[in-house]
């Protein structure tokens, strides 16, 4: 990278970047606090994470103007680890997540993104939205009508304010309004301060105090792996959206390494693992941000806000945050997938639904993604395993030509072989494989079986039109063209 492009990336849009970054910082506060509460840690952990990740990724990320911070998708994966082992293990897991992501970045993980079908990604965001929404429900348990009224009030402000002005982020205004109402009415609703500590201090470098044993590794590794995968998946998706919005391209493998570096640093500074955020990145670009400076500003301004307004942050009622989180989940959900589900190919719809159900069932986004990928791989195999066989009688019924269309592999050979009647009374068969491809031993075995079965019956089969790959495979593995072989009885 030369000086000129660095300059352009950083200072090509100073005014737009700084303003957008400040808007994002304001919008990040409620989310960072709420995601900490989902994960079951002090709000400070999410705020530190958002600061560290945004600042680091602004230097080392592959997608300028993308916003990364503490996220819901990651928070949801941490819940069990935090509940069972506590914060120190989470910090260690965060560092390990970063290491895994850097390794994945060097292994050029981005090219594997194309194997994640869109239906899985749609299922991913929908499941994420559902989980974030479900995580809010517990805040209503045992609360008075005031809670419901405040959440309702927050939602009204969030959705109606943008009609009047779009200069300030409406979720922030909602939080301020609801906080004032709560303080003024002396309402007894729970506040952020009740959920954990919020210190007025800069994050400091600490090595997580965990026993450095194999047992610890076994505890944190599965969580870290899931975090690494989910983090990169959401980051790549966000990067694609920012790419499209700004009509530019970005380096996905660099982004993976950047996410890793950001998570490692975050772990050492007492923050939880995070990744790119679709909602915040969209806010950033819409507010005029398109350079690295916007992400840096978001992180730094966030820290300033925490230090200055610390006393006020603890007084934010949970009701206001719940309102913001409901908005986040509504914004995350892909509503068009509901209205177009009947237009989608049936297998895509099934994959999407299975992804969602798996996630909601296991509370683990990575498991849903795996279930979705495996299912769509099976559907794909089933789809291309349809082999079309057409036969024509020639030479007055003495000879038959079979035209084979399709992919011959383990999943398609059974149906393929069943297309032939080995008892038919003809002298010669041309098996035309011009439009077929042999992929594996099963395919070779099927050809063997057809040729030799006909041979038993006195019919000679000519295998024709093999393409290069298929004929190499036949030469290596087939037996029908060797002398004196008979089909094994299986």
């Amino acid at each position: 990278m030369n000086i000129e492009s660095i300059k352009q990336n950083w200072f090509g849009n100073v005014k737009g970047d700084v303003l957008a970054g400040m808007v994002v910082a304001l919008a990040l506060i409620p989310e960072a606090i709420a995601f900490s509460i989902i994960a079951g840690v002090d709000p400070m952990v999410g705020l530190y994470a958002s600061f560290c990740i945004a600042v680091i990724i602004s230097f080392v990320g592959g997608r300028p103007a993308m916003i990364s911070a503490a996220t819901g998708a990651m928070a949801l994966l941490m819940v069990t680890l935090v509940a069972d082992y506590g914060l120190q293990y989470l910090l260690a897991a965060t560092i390990l997540t970063g290491i895994i992501q850097i390794v994945m970045g060097y292994l050029k993980i981005a090219k594997f993104m194309k194997f994640v079908p869109r239906s899985v990604m749609i299922g991913f965001v929908n499941a994420l939205a559902i989980l974030i929404f479900m995580a809010q429900l517990e805040h209503f348990v045992g609360e008075s009508w005031q809670m419901y009224a405040m959440v309702g009030g927050a939602l009204v402000v969030i959705y109606l304010l943008p009609k009047l002005t779009k200069i300030v982020p409406s979720p922030l205004v909602a939080i301020i309004v609801i906080t004032i109402v709560a303080i003024y009415t002396g309402s007894e609703v729970r506040t952020v301060g009740d959920m954990g500590e919020l210190t007025q201090a800069l994050p400091i470098f600490l090595i997580p105090s965990i026993p450095l044993t194999l047992e610890t590794l076994m505890i944190i590794f599965p969580v870290s792996l899931a975090l690494a995968i989910v983090g990169l998946l959401e980051s790549f998706l966000t990067a694609q959206i920012v790419d499209d919005m700004t009509d530019t391209e970005s380096n996905k493998n660099k982004e993976a390494k950047g996410q890793g570096a950001a998570n490692i640093v975050t772990g050492f500074f007492g923050g939880m693992a995070g990744c790119a955020m679709i909602g915040q990145s969209v806010i950033n670009v819409k507010s005029g941000g398109n350079g690295r400076l916007s992400t840096l500003t978001a992180g730094v301004f966030l820290m300033i806000l925490i230090l200055v307004f610390n006393d006020l942050l603890v007084q934010i009622p949970m009701a206001a945050l719940v309102g913001v989180m409901i908005m986040v989940s509504i914004g995350t959900f892909d509503w068009s997938s509901l209205t177009t589900i009947h237009l989608m190919p049936k297998s895509d719809a099934v994959v999407m639904i299975v992804t969602v159900v798996t996630v909601v069932w296991t509370h683990d986004l990575s498991k849903g993604v795996f279930a979705g990928i495996i299912l769509s791989a099976i559907f794909f195999a089933a789809k291309i395993s349809k082999v079309d066989v057409k036969s024509i009688m020639v030479e007055g019924g003495k000879k038959k030509i079979y035209h084979v269309h399709g992919q011959l592999f383990f999943a398609s050979v059974t149906d393929f072989v069943n297309c032939f009647d080995f008892k038919e009374d003809i002298d010669m068969i041309d098996l035309d494989l011009k439009n077929a491809h042999l992929w594996d031993d099963s395919a070779v075995g099927a050809i063997d079986k057809i040729v030799l079965k006909y041979k038993e019956n006195g019919t000679i089969v000519h295998v024709l039109g093999l393409n290069e790959d298929s004929s190499t495979l036949i030469k290596k593995r087939a037996v029908y063209n060797k002398e004196n072989v008979k089909i094994a009885n299986h």
Partner: protein
């Protein structure tokens, strides 16, 4: 004469009616070029990226939406080009019109989504207010 004609289109029926008027303007002017402008806003970006696996497919789908518009103009044998712009519809159209010496903007009175119009205000009014050139709003 209106030589550089900007036609804002989202592929809706309103936009198709606007297309007819743009053709009318260009018809007897051999120098006329219609620039079909299609705006991709943030929510469209988000759902397009989510629903299509690669940028090539996304681009193709967006151009497909303008197929009828293009056909109409082609049939009238008028020179045209297609521009896909990113951003909020109103400001993006205004910026393009003011920055590219457009002589007139032709725009449908209402797009695909009436709910969006209620929330955000109509695109055509924004363009009419801020563009430096004449704006024709087609009912």
């Amino acid at each position: 004469m209106f030589n550089a004609i900007l036609l804002a289109s989202d592929g809706s029926n309103h936009a198709l009616r606007a297309t007819d008027k743009a053709i009318l303007l260009a018809k007897h002017n051999p120098d006329a070029v219609i620039t079909i402008v299609y705006i991709v806003d943030s929510s469209k970006s988000k759902s397009d990226v989510l629903h299509h696996s690669n940028p090539i497919e996304i681009d193709q789908r967006r151009k497909e939406k303008l197929l009828l518009t293009e056909q109409k103009i082609k049939k009238a044998s008028i020179a045209y080009e297609v521009k896909i712009l990113h951003g909020e519809p109103g400001p993006a159209i205004v910026k393009y019109a003011n920055g590219n010496n457009i002589d007139i903007c032709v725009i449908g009175s209402r797009g695909l989504n009436s709910l969006q119009e209620m929330v955000l205000g109509s695109v055509s009014h924004k363009v009419a207010k801020r563009a430096n050139c004449p704006v024709m709003i087609v009912k």
